[in-house]
Amino acid sequence: MEATRSVESVPTHEAAASSPQRKRVKFSRILLHATIIFFCIVVVLPVAWVILMSIKSIPDAYTGELFPRHYDFTHYRYVFEKMPNVLQNFANSIIVTFSTVVITCTIAVLAGYALVHLRLPGKVLVLSLLVGSLFFPTRIVSLIGIWEIQNAIGLINTRIGLILPYVTLNLALSILIMKGVFETISHEIVEAAKIDGASSWRTLWQIMVPLAINGVVVLIIVNFVTAWGEYLLAYTLTNDQSVRTLPVVLATTFGGFGEWAWPRLAAIYIMAILPGILGFAIAQQWYMKGLSEGALKF
């Protein structure tokens, strides 16, 4: 008990460096960090393994040894130069994801703002429907219906046919996130802008969105991750390899020899997860602020 109790008050004990208590403090702090670091390593290892796989020489990839005898850094170039289909799938993913993120975020900002700062008859009904849809497996149940619609209007095997249902995937969550973010902004700012003669539209884009920018970053990342990796709809609504997105191609490819050798698959994989990880690394500070500003408290 003594040891754990002093964990929080370590700085005050700094002076008593030689006391036995200090030793126990040190031990429990080491244990604390060691446990967290253990989890961090567990989190990083699988990703590190794919990176390692993507720079192994092809024979070494099949030995079952973790570390290769020879490294081969040419797999990435091979994908770019010799696998034009994969580049096409890459482009599909970019087009579909970009459109989905832009449309979803715009809609969610509009709706979140109206739900918090504008007078809206029927607000409670809208909110309960949004929250209710989170607890219902709409993705599974509506799948056949979505396929029927896209089939009826000829959107099977098209990129736009993916974008439209993708917007709905995260829309309820996105609106609730934006609602949480806008709730942290004082309503008096809206009132003040109104008195100054600003329309609700101008107030939103010139005053509210800049104030809610951390939340918007969370929104962009959440929607990017969903759209970039979406599998079920893409697998169901497309069967033409040239309009398929990267996750479907990776999931339906089983590693073997030849063009789809393991290290090349791993290189494609790294290229596919890199945009998300880089984007997150760049936007990390806004993302963390956004999370603490209410983006998680829906």
Binding site: L32, P46, A111, P137
Partner: protein, 315 residues
């Protein structure tokens, strides 16, 4: 402050009186795009699925669909593949739920104690790495991790720890009892960072004075955890248990990617069966598949209602 703002509101409301009713309606313009997508790609498909679940609609059949009432639902309830699929989904949920709630809670309590702000941020960022990798990409990654030939997990077990030989090494995916635990472990890994952040936000909302007071009263860490932290995080537990129950029972991408369309596999749950019926089996009996989708969803909603009842405020 509050009184001034309310007088301002009423003053401006009075000034705009003639068009006040119109104004209220005009604000709905902000919700029109959202409603369009909800109606077109959520509400309408759901209703259409309701409709075809009462018919013998088969996509590849030339005969027109006829209304057959509740026959699909009666058939499904007597269909051993559907019932076994529900049981498999429930087994997976039971394996998955404890790990995705308690491991992140434990980790959040630890990370919450890190005093160095830079280190605290670094830990959070590292733990969040899986959260920015899309789910299906995680499943592809773990299908490779579990691979019998080249997967690093068996490589470590056989070549480094010498716990197994290539002959008796565990098979993690496919027709094996380890298939569902394997997917559960993967899902813990995937959700670890995100749920830790969730609990950290909850821990940050607990006033520090509560811990101080408990400490003064002589409570140790263990008692403080159970008497202060856990009761305070109760609403969060409810949301997480219900949300994760919903995702776990309705899992499909994981099972399609790591299992495939083989009836014998433990990963062939009711969702995979529904997909297989609608887009692959026979002449695509989508009417029957639709009824299975609704039955699965209804079963889930009953359990969700029960969970809300269990976690209700008892005061």
């Amino acid at each position: 402050m509050a009184s001034t703002s309310s007088t301002v509101t009423s003053a401006s409301a009075r000034r705009w009186r003639p068009s006040r009713i119109l104004n209220l309606g005009v604000n709905w313009v902000y919700l029109v795009p959202a409603l369009f997508f909800f109606v077109a790609y959520m509400l309408y498909p759901l209703l259409q699925v309701v409709y075809i679940s009462f018919t013998d609609y088969r996509y590849l059949s030339r005969e027109p669909a006829t209304f057959i009432g509740l026959k699909n639902f009666a058939d499904a309830l007597a269909d051993p593949i559907f019932l076994q699929g529900m049981l498999r989904a429930a087994t997976f949920t039971a394996l998955f739920l404890p790990g995705v709630i308690f491991i992140p809670l434990f980790l959040a309590v630890l990370v919450d104690r890190v005093e160095n702000p830079r280190l605290a941020t670094l830990y959070r960022v590292i733990l969040l790495i899986p959260a920015v990798i899309p789910g299906p990409m995680i499943f592809v990654l773990w299908r490779w991790m579990y691979d019998f030939e080249i997967g690093p997990i068996n490589s470590i077990l056989v070549n480094y720890l010498h716990l197994f030989t290539p002959r008796n090494a565990p098979q993690w995916i496919g027709d094996t009892p380890l298939a569902l635990p394997g997917v559960a472990i993967m899902s813990w890994w995937w959700g670890l960072g995100y749920h830790t952040m969730f609990f950290l936000a909850g821990l940050a909302a607990i006033p520090r004075e509560m811990f101080e007071a408990a400490r003064v009263d002589g409570a140790n860490e263990w008692q403080m955890f159970w008497r202060v932290t856990v009761p305070r995080l109760r609403p969060m537990f409810l949301i997480l248990v219900v949300l994760r129950f919903g995702t776990a029972m309705a899992v499909i991408d994981e099972f399609l990617i790591m299992g495939g369309l083989n009836r014998g596999m433990p990963t062939y749950t009711w969702t995979v069966y529904m997909w297989h019926l609608a887009f692959g089996l026979g002449n695509w009996p989508q009417g029957y598949a639709a009824s299975i989708g609704w039955l699965g969803a209804a079963a889930m909603l009953i359990v969700v209602a029960a969970l809300f009842y269990i976690f209700r405020d008892r005061d």
